[in-house]
């Protein structure tokens, strides 16, 4: 019921996404809905809207989902995925302007403490270059 804010990690590389998710699990624990995805539809480096949608679904929380991305295509595809969500979910998913590994850990730490989506995002974005 009172599920914490979900975290989704989106990288161009499936290995980077999985590694970042491993770090979040070890450092933050199990109290945060977490999903990750990386790579294109053929398994190469890149982005895949379908996988991003599936990851958002997997990490879904009624309190929202914060998405951490690495580079351009991951961001653009994540924004596209968010627009394709059902209307009642669209406003509860945000892409954080933060480095993917550090941002995911800070966002998850904030979420684990029960913070709302705005706080989770703000904490991750404190890491963004000015």
């Amino acid at each position: 019921m009172n599920r914490n804010v979900g975290i989704v990690i989106v990288s161009h590389s499936a290995d980077v996404a999985r590694g970042a998710a491993d770090m979040v699990r070890q450092m933050v624990g199990e109290d945060v809905p977490l999903a990750h995805c990386g790579g294109d539809a053929d398994g190469g480096l890149g982005s895949d809207v379908a996988r991003i949608l599936a990851a958002i679904d997997e990490a879904w929380s009624p309190r929202g989902v914060a998405v951490l991305v690495d580079l351009g295509g991951a961001e653009t595809n994540s924004e596209m995925a968010i627009e394709m969500l059902p209307e009642d979910r669209r406003d509860k998913v945000v892409v954080c302007n933060a480095p993917v590994v550090e941002g995911a850990i800070m966002a998850a730490t904030e979420s684990a403490g029960g913070a709302d989506l705005g706080q989770v995002r703000a904490t991750a974005e404190e890491l963004a270059p000015a």
Binding site: D40, A41, D42, G44, L45, G46, S47, D48, V49, A50, L71, G72, G73, T76, N77, E79, M80, M84
Partner: protein, 203 residues
């Protein structure tokens, strides 16, 4: 120009085949100033559209455009999937009930270009596909002659060579992005050129 939807098929085929034939060139351009996947990504998208071409061409124009856009969003990957996807989805949403005359096409294309601007948080002059799409839109509004559109796209594409990239991966290179044609501008120019050729041959 053309009627909908019977004559949509050769246009889709022309654009898709142009991308597939030039995939290596697009990848080489992208390797110079991007991450080297534009040709591969666009080829994957073009093949996905060709695989559904009969289904797509059987739909009413707005739905056909949206179906192409959705195939590109789901299959292309990279930043170009959502960007080209938004172009086609935007065109489909704005398409009216009428046929495919120049005014209808221009209005639809304008909405698509706006969708690309929003998706890419970009505008003209930043060394992107918009540096081809916007001049083509302007030409389409004024004349809409297929040969003229083709020329406008080619000239606009070549002009990206001297621009400094301000969006996307190429922007990391700053001044070093100057001297290379933008891969997204090239793929736009390729598809527009191929569509114009097909229009010239069928209208």
């Amino acid at each position: 120009m053309v009627d909908t939807p019977r004559s949509l098929k050769p246009l889709i085929r022309a654009a898709a085949e142009a991308v597939i034939a030039h995939a290596d060139e697009l990848t080489d351009l992208d390797r110079a100033i991007g991450d080297g996947d534009h040709g591969i990504n666009m080829k994957r998208g073009a093949e996905a559209v060709l695989a559904e071409i009969d289904l797509i061409a059987a739909k009413p124009m707005p739905d056909a455009l949206k179906a192409i856009g959705m195939a590109l969003v789901m299959k292309v990957g990279g930043a170009s999937g959502p960007l080209y996807g938004s172009l086609l989805l935007g065109m489909g949403k704005a398409w009216g009930d009428g046929g495919m005359d120049r005014a209808a096409l221009a209005a639809s294309f304008a909405a698509g270009v706006d969708a690309v601007k929003a998706r890419g948080k970009s505008d003209r002059g930043q060394k992107t596909m918009l540096d081809v799409l916007i001049p083509v839109l302007e030409d389409l509004r004024e004349t809409g002659d297929a040969a003229g559109l083709r020329e406008a796209a080619a000239v606009a594409c070549a002009a990206t060579r001297d621009m400094k990239a301000e969006r996307g991966r190429a922007s990391f290179l700053g001044e070093r992005s100057i001297g290379h044609v933008d891969p997204g501008a090239r793929s736009s120019s390729l598809m527009i050129g191929a569509i114009c050729d097909a229009l010239g041959g069928t209208s």
